[in-house]
Symmetry: C2
Subunit: 148 residues, 2 copies
């Protein structure tokens, strides 16, 4: 994705979020995004175990989880709203200060998760492994910068 396209998407997402979430309580937004991340972890964990050989590779099961992850990857961004960076959250206020970087990583998460879901359909672990690692990298880069 080129930078112009990505910038356009980010601006559109911000506008959509502002429009739709005008009256959302910050605590509800925190619970929403934490719920999404629980579901991300729920799917990512078993996929990681299969990639690492800790769990027997089941192509159909992996593919189902990768599809779920791709769907989930589109969801958390709208939960990061004004006033939701204190209290029971590990999300840092840096998210608001550097929204463009944050939203860019979230967009990379979405793109890499979609690629993983496509790759998973092949059932070929040699193709799946690097696609999985690309998703894992977006998780880590975001946590390093924006999670307490």
């Amino acid at each position: 994705m080129n930078n112009m396209t990505r910038s356009g998407i980010i601006v559109a997402l911000m506008a959509a979020s502002t429009l739709a979430l005008a009256e959302v309580k910050p605590s509800d937004a925190v619970e929403y995004r934490q719920g999404i991340y629980k579901a991300v972890k729920w799917n990512f964990g078993p996929m990681g175990d299969m990639v690492k050989g800790k769990q027997e590779f089941n192509a159909a099961e992996f593919s189902r989880r990768a599809a779920n992850l791709a769907a989930l990857s589109k969801m958390p961004l709208e939960g990061f709203i004004a006033g939701s960076y204190s209290g029971s959250t590990d999300a840092l206020p840096a998210i608001e200060k550097d929204w463009e970087t944050f939203a860019g990583i979230m967009s990379d998460f979405e793109t890499s998760a979609a690629t993983l879901a496509e790759t998973a359909a092949s059932g070929d672990m040699n193709a799946i492994r690097p696609a999985f690692m690309s998703v894992a990298k977006t998780c880590k880069s975001c946590h390093d910068k924006f999670k307490d």
Copy 2:
């Protein structure tokens, strides 16, 4: 969906869950499914407000939420595992006792959410309203029977 098809799907889902979640902690399963339901509510609420006219109808926004809901509707079932019906959960043990009814309603939830997502693409509120109400009915029928 005819009964034979539905039974087949339910059996397949049960087998998949048993296979994949052999070592899952009940408390993690509770947090997972509660996370999914938070995300369901997050999307269902604004859609309901648009259906009721409390919020201005925005076809693109509605469609995006309906697609999210359709994806989420596939996810909670695998979180209902043995040992996860006490403690901080409103899910009743009746779920285990009457698994076929429970899984049948969850399947109706999935089917009606998929229909809503398809209908939402039309942008026609006269078609969307009954499709939305069908989903709402599956929520209610499950809560009435299986939620404290």
